[in-house]
Point group: D3
Chain length 281, copies 6
């Protein structure tokens, strides 16, 4: 496993990224007839949480199996602007071909880890935990969920196969929340809890009565969420969801919910600024 994925699945993503960048080789390097062995370093240009370094190194290795790598930090470490992150040595042409796909991945995953870390820090001291969502980049879900964990937040289900979460559309199709929860509990399989989405205290109470194991409070006010926290019986967990944005998370956490799910962790994380510098020729 590398960055939360099997080697084979990760390689498949990286080879695709390499192929789309240089299907015919590097026209510039070939025109210049460059060669020789060099080393280079990844350099932090701002403060962020490092994530994806092994995957970035793997890009170089796929292009030039004789490349050598030295990581200076592990994923999860908070770096400051100016810190060197790791070194690569190998053939100049291979390194120039690897640099951009490697950076594209490293900057994105570190951006997500950094966003997750900040969300986690914002609610520090409360009993709530930050969750991610299924709002990930097509094809990169496992890597982005790994970045969320690297930043200290938790993963919600990996996808539709990975847990029961009854939403408004399901309830509408079944006819009632009570019937939906009851049907899910009968069929869920013995290893899964049943979570149901509600949009009001009234629905929340119906969910409790129906025997839901977890309740997702969707777009509810902090006041209503605080009341739901008070009313819930032991063992029932609460997830706040809907428009959860950094900056407003602490107030939500203080309502007493157990989880806050934040789509922006993955769908809108900014790439952090990292450069790759050739050190020597």
């Amino acid at each position: 496993m590398v960055c939360g994925m099997s080697e084979q699945a990760l390689d498949s993503i990286l080879l695709q990224a390499i192929a789309e960048d240089s299907p015919y080789g590097d026209r510039t390097v070939e025109a210049l007839a460059l060669g020789g062995t060099v080393s280079g370093v990844f350099l932090a240009k701002e403060e962020f949480v490092l994530c994806g370094l092994q995957a970035a190194f793997r890009v170089f290795e796929l292009i030039d199996p004789s490349s050598a790598f030295v990581p200076f930090f592990e994923d999860g470490k908070t770096l400051k602007a100016g810190e060197r992150i790791g070194r690569v040595a190998g053939d100049l042409g291979a390194i120039l071909k690897s640099e951009r796909p490697a950076l594209n991945l490293l900057q994105r995953l570190s951006g997500i880890a950094t966003t997750a870390r900040r969300a986690t820090e914002e609610i520090e001291g409360t009993t709530a935990r930050i969750l991610d969502t299924r709002k990930t980049t097509p094809g990169l879900r496992l890597l982005e969920k790994y970045a969320v964990r690297t930043g200290g937040a938790l993963n919600h289900r990996m996808g539709l196969s990975d847990g029961i979460l009854i939403k408004d559309n399901h309830i509408a199709a079944v006819g009632s929340l009570t019937e939906a929860v009851s049907r899910a509990k009968a069929n869920a399989g013995h290893l899964w809890r049943v979570e149901v989405e509600v949009g009001s205290l009234e629905e929340f109470r119906e969910a409790l009565a129906a025997g839901a194991d977890l309740v997702l409070l969707d777009n509810m006010s902090n006041e209503d969420m605080a009341r739901a926290s008070l009313e819930r019986p032991n063992g029932v967990l609460l997830e706040a969801s809907g428009g959860m944005k950094p900056g407003s998370l602490r107030a939500v956490a203080q309502t007493g919910v157990d989880f806050i799910s934040v789509g922006a962790l993955t769908h809108s994380a900014r790439a952090v600024d990292i450069s790759f510098e050739i050190e020597s020729h």
Copy 2:
């Protein structure tokens, strides 16, 4: 071609996105034994430039070939909050499985198109054009470059195979800018121009003397770029690059450069807010 890709290459991306979301099917829908045919609409929740609608529809079609689609707008249209974007009709289980992967793609591509449109509008009336970069999401380059075009900006080269751009590392490896440009012009092939990166007016003048067809002005002040614009001979094109951020683009454009390349178009575009609503059961 759909969204700038062959059907086969697009399907490969979409099938990967579907597989990572539901490798074993949808546990909730199966537990609830949902079925029947429904229709749903994509709904704009804020103002943005639409991009990727055909790819989003294709997700539904891959999961349920009997799905039907009606687009209400074409890619490139600016939508307002509250506008319906298009309708899908099909099997409920298939629609619930398709919704999230489709939205993940549509929100991201529309986010990039919107960012590109805003950058383009910022420099309206000048002679400069906005370019993208190679700072794209691994695996999604063709789609993201399509989104850039949809927003009205231009694509820089698609990758390393697709044009000659001599950067600082190449120059260091060759020994001098003059030698690098001269070697590139000799070997580039007859169909390609030669672009070279410079970091100062001094290097800029060396590039001109060496016969560069295009010069990338990297992290230079607006004053220096304005001077370069004045000094350049007919037929030599200038590209401003390095930390080009929305908000400061107009001042750059007014220096007289021909192109401004903006990495943030793709590496940090925010997903726009779109929902998918089931209309009927």
Copy 3:
């Protein structure tokens, strides 16, 4: 979804089966220069539970997209010897090429469904349910789990990603059952219950004290399992496992356990006898 799989994933299995059977075409049909359109039927040669008919039809369709199909029964139906199952019409060469891969799949899946149905019937009237295991044919897990459901039994987890089940090797690695359960409950994620394997009543009681949600009773006597059923608190579920063979399942079910997991459903199911007969030329 066809037989519990996405069309694309199923096709991948079927195309592999076709390719291994006729990488160069059908040497006999080519030597005989056969052609023309025919129809044929699948025929039950013994009593069994039908499973996999749509996948079998799909083999014909992949080889000859203009083939036509009529199913006479749906998966799950118990057929008697001599009953016709469904008809295919198409090009003779294509039908002769499709017949064997289609039968190989249909006979295996029907064999599993039949075994599952018999196990389910054996415990009819008790409160126990039959579960499958991960002892499936490499590459065919989703199809075989579908066959288990078709026969009326339940699926245990689809694989290691799909639920928490602490076994003896995990406990040995952690150091104690109590610590293992406690660690799993802390980290499992909010949607999953925690199941733990025990081999004795003593361990069973430790599992209860540690807060396990489910307990797998491995190779325990019926007496001990009956006692465990009496001792368990409300809400804790029991799974009997280890050498569970058809013929002895009813006695196990009568101990009061909730689930009996039976590896033989998938790892040793006999293919049922089905033939394919050309009706007309």
Copy 4:
């Protein structure tokens, strides 16, 4: 070649088996935060013919390339209950992830080899040989044919591309057995013999007259097969087929046929009982 397949083709099967078992990693091992290096052994729980050990080892190697293996026996060896088969050492998490896919393959292939060995032993001393059929598990044909050879039986053709065998449906399509054999001999290509299926002594004599090189006696009585053996000229080979079951093979062999083809070798072989035990932590 490993177990009758190229490394690449085998890996493709094994990676599929791994992916279907743990698309998201091992939720239990991750919840328990297990690590460290261990060793384990495969252990025979009954008497059987070993088959597939190198493929089983390859599962571990694909998941953890730094795993180490020691086989204690070679494929084809008859093991007794209690014998250790081979040892694996590596990362605990990787070993727990590899164990089940490796066992699933090893138990199935050893089951087939054991069945083939028993069939072979049943006819020992006669001049007949046991053949397999095309009734194999979809996707596993090369491995299962290898297991048949490992058990001492012979492979019939690998598939439709691999030899000429005229069956009843071909004859019906051509119009007569004589015409079918004659057409096949004209077109078969110079390297292939022509085999034809007959269902009676009358058809058998027609096959001889038509010049068939081999005759498949389908569902004929032992008396008729004995007569056919007497009547056939030098150089014509006979294959008994149709409902050939272990226990009745010796009587068939004594009719004087050259080959007995047994579908049950592959389509209904029981998985043998093998366990994997962690030895040390």
Copy 5:
């Protein structure tokens, strides 16, 4: 089956050819913003045997599924310069993208069919037949073997899996021709004849004595081959091989051999001249 291949295998070759030609689309058509529907025809520019038209059409269909096709001739037809071969109608951009990959295939396969036809005509009236070899283009073997058949010659084995042919290196490894033939006959399987290569009359006689079913006469003089033809017993077939070139084939055929294998059919066939003309806009 299309051109001797399954649809899926052919598509895989064609999609690769398309992808290598236009990984990013057609820069010229996009720069010119061309659109609209047109039709075009394939036109013979010299006399040749047509081969591969359905595969050529399939290129257009893969790029634009709404394309329409009309073949004017079937594969195997001898065309004269100036004849129209078939028409395609569809989107202009798709047609311009399809034209070159389609022509590349059509010209090559027709070149092989033409070469095979001429070799066949050269030996007309003799009892010999022309065979191809394994000297085919990597990846295109099935198509090229189909082209050989289209031209009226026969296929030798499809590859190493497809027949027994003992060559000098095998004999050297075994120790003697007699031992090699005897071992092959014992192990070959019941459906295969045994062919052995000899380089002299002495070896030829050894092969006969050893019981070879076919003998490949490698680089032997026409006199020696004529003598071998006289000496061989009934039922033993002879293949002339080694430097067999168009122009000298008739003399070889007149020695009485049954087959002449000609590597140049596939390894050095000239592409025939075909153009694709847009008829209308």
Copy 6:
């Protein structure tokens, strides 16, 4: 990069070539039960330019990773008949399986390199250069373009994505050459020159007036091409194309054109004669 391709892309081609030659292993080697380690050499049987040796070696390595290789020459070297090219050592069965696919590739690529070398020599002393075309074997474009470079000629664009070349069909669709060139120059992107095809001096002059950067002179007489060379302004390049055949290239080069594109380099190159000889057993 090996022979102008990424390792992964090359392996994909080679594995396909291996699979089509031996999907079920080597029936002859298996029947003979051959084993042991041997070495063999590639041997030049005529004079040619070597190309593809590393790819040929890679075939052996894919089949037997423990194979060892020693190249005696590098690609681009002109070899004489009788020279040994390189040695391979490894398992006999693996070597016999690798030999033919390796030779098929090596003979074809060397044939192309040799053809390119001869074309280049034919115009030695002129200022013209030889270009290849898109008339390559489906699936082998990158390798064949590499062979062209190895022979000393230049590559034209790699495909439709790789440069702007306006041909007659484009002009017809746009309406006029002038409009087509003007539209292309507006949209081409900043890194690409614009080439346009003309068929007469009149069109040539229109192309110059329209501002074309390069002009392809299609099927024009040497006289007209000489006149075009005189008339063209500085900086405009000329490419002669259409029926350019070895033997007539020097006269074309003497017209003063810059490039001569020769489809026959790739579409009709003869495979050179190379054998593989086992040295020792």
